[in-house]
Symmetry: C2
Subunit: 375 residues, 2 copies
């Protein structure tokens, strides 16, 4: 189906994307929360529209460039989940002026909250915030029982032009979990952290409109989300080998793959060379902890996306990928000029350098969807 | 000097770039070869112009997108050093039609050579080739003593519209060398492979206009390049921690760094969080083999680019970088909102997602230079 197409190329299976999207819409409904898809993974308006079946309200992003792109393309209620700093306030203001969208910012810093109050007043603009709390990943966010949490909420609530919206956390340590029971515990730690933080503020008369948790594994396997208003997750839209290694998805749920061409045979070294390397697949090897044969990605049939034997991409150079083969018959099966597809370790990182997706439905190419990158 | 700039941002020190460029121009002169800079590292017209002090003839690229970009911007004699396959011939033809530039393609495949002859005739276009030989890296290329080498040269020479230009190799295993004497050996293996291949063809009456070797370490340390016509190298333009770890450059030769903002303090975990992570710095950890404290990159003062204590970026998430600090004084030295610069492991990969360089000269910002990415 890809005959004579130029490679490397990012392929998106629309049917799988729709199936994954529906799974999480249903999960959110079961859990009684709103779904706020994290569009840092797809970075695409077309994918964002599918994520909630046409509903373009309530999304998460990781950069202001993504916020700007989605705001300018009709999305609303956009949360930037990485902590903001004052050098980025001016762009937040510009996004509002251009699109009318008030991006919901995240902070865990009293200094930033005070700067926001000053900036908003001095620059005649509004700034909306959630406070990030740490639920055990220890990457970012305040302890839910910290004094600073209350101080930040008070500062933001008191500001004429700052708007306190609520509490968020990210249980990213669910990616390190070995089994489902551990993910369930992380999900409960997310819920516990945000609901306790919200309760402390509520006791002081500060209400949280947003009480937000999420990572794909925890949203999928949380036992309940009582007291939470919304769930954020992103990689579930596409899945990848890292999530497969966590048993959160099946191989045939993975919606994104890299189409590559066999550009060389090295019969002496018993390797096949493809034109997808460190830039086209990425150097992420996150899946290997639980799936040691993932290497830089599974090598699959270009049409069926079934893995070819036990082939993986074993080494990557900037534009070369190396596939060891233990059977000379593979050179006949995969002649120079033939194509393969690579299932990625970590879709968010693999997809990053591409300008677009080549979208397939069944065995047909149905379009090219643009996506953004950079900052 | 970067006050209130948005981050992450790629910073290029023009003075260092010029110094690095001159070093290799002088090296090539000493070795009696032409220099064919590999512009897969900078992917920028402005940098490409500096690489040979205004001479825009004779460059190397790794993708057809780079070839197209440089051809459309006045560069000529462009070699695409990654093996071509027939699905890319149409774009080679389009590049010629748009720019008048005949991209020099690489192959190590008799099948591709035959396809090229057919395509060129059927499509009324010309295709120029070098043959890639393997000098010991065992990534790609034919053994210099192989029969197929001669067959390919004969096929390409016999084609009415195909043009055989010569031989090339890449001693990429110089990056694995532990010390200078090993790099010297790799340099000699490059020279040996291409000159012997060229001699075999010359004995059959097939002359090689191009006899090409190169990697930054081997060009720097080769004892001589007798019989070679040109040297290809790229990372020397910018250098990085991997090259520093090989003792090929000094820290203050590294011309590219990532400007990042401190976005969080995690006093419990004793970490500082910055807004440069897996996308802004890359997941390349290639320098760590010889420089174990490189981690994802050295953390440096934003103004001076001097390393701050022994700080490194220890972990990366999509848009977060984590810097462990063993001294609480670091939280005072690097408050939230302050900036740092990160020296990268592998510049070629780190630079890839950026649309532009913020160019500095001494302590002044002198411009923003665009660069390309993707395919």
């Amino acid at each position: 189906m890809f005959e004579n197409m130029e490679t490397p190329r990012l392929i998106l299976d629309r049917g799988r994307l729709i199936k994954n999207s529906r799974l999480f819409m249903e999960r959110a409904k079961e859990l009684g929360v709103k779904l706020r898809p994290h569009l840092k993974t797809p970075k695409s308006v077309e994918v964002g529209k599918i994520a909630k079946d046409g509903d373009m309200t309530g999304i998460t992003v990781s950069t202001l460039k993504e916020a700007e792109y989605f705001a300018n393309n009709g999305f609303s209620n956009i949360m930037l989940a990485a902590a903001i700093t004052p050098n980025k306030f001016a762009r937040v203001k510009r996004i509002f002026e251009a699109s009318g969208q008030q991006i919901i910012l995240a902070t865990d810093s009293l200094w930033v909250a005070n700067e926001a109050v000053s900036y908003a007043t001095a620059n005649d603009c509004d700034l909306a915030f959630v406070i990030e709390v740490d639920c055990g990943e220890h990457r970012s966010g305040l302890p839910y029982d910290s004094t600073e949490l209350i101080e930040i909420a008070q500062v933001l609530s008191a500001g004429d032009r700052t708007h306190f919206k609520g509490i968020m956390t990210h249980g990213g340590h669910s990616y390190l979990a070995g089994e489902r029971s551990e993910v369930v515990k992380v999900a409960e730690s997310e819920r516990h952290a945000v609901t306790h933080a919200a309760k402390r503020l509520s006791d002081l008369g500060i209400e949280c409109e947003i009480v937000s948790v999420g990572s794909s594994p925890t949203v999928l396997w949380a036992e309940h989300l009582d007291g939470v208003t919304e769930a954020r997750a992103g990689v579930y839209l596409f899945w990848d080998l890292m999530q497969y290694a966590l048993n959160v998805c099946e191989l045939d749920d993975i919606a994104v793959s890299v189409l590559a061409t066999v550009i060389g045979h090295n019969r002496g070294a018993k390797t096949i060379v493809i034109d997808a390397g460190a830039l086209a697949i990425s150097k992420d090897i996150g899946a290997n902890k639980n799936l040691p044969d993932a290497k830089y990605g599974y090598v699959c049939d270009a049409s069926t996306l079934e893995r070819i034997g036990t082939l993986s991409v074993d080494a990557v150079y900037q534009e070369h990928g190396i596939i060891p083969v233990d059977d000379d018959a593979m050179f006949e099966l995969l002649p120079i000029g033939s194509m393969v597809r690579i299932l990625p370790n970590h879709t968010c990182i693999t997809a990053a350098p591409y300008d677009s997706y080549t979208v397939i439905e069944g065995d047909k190419i149905i379009g090219e969807w643009s996506r953004i990158g950079g900052w």
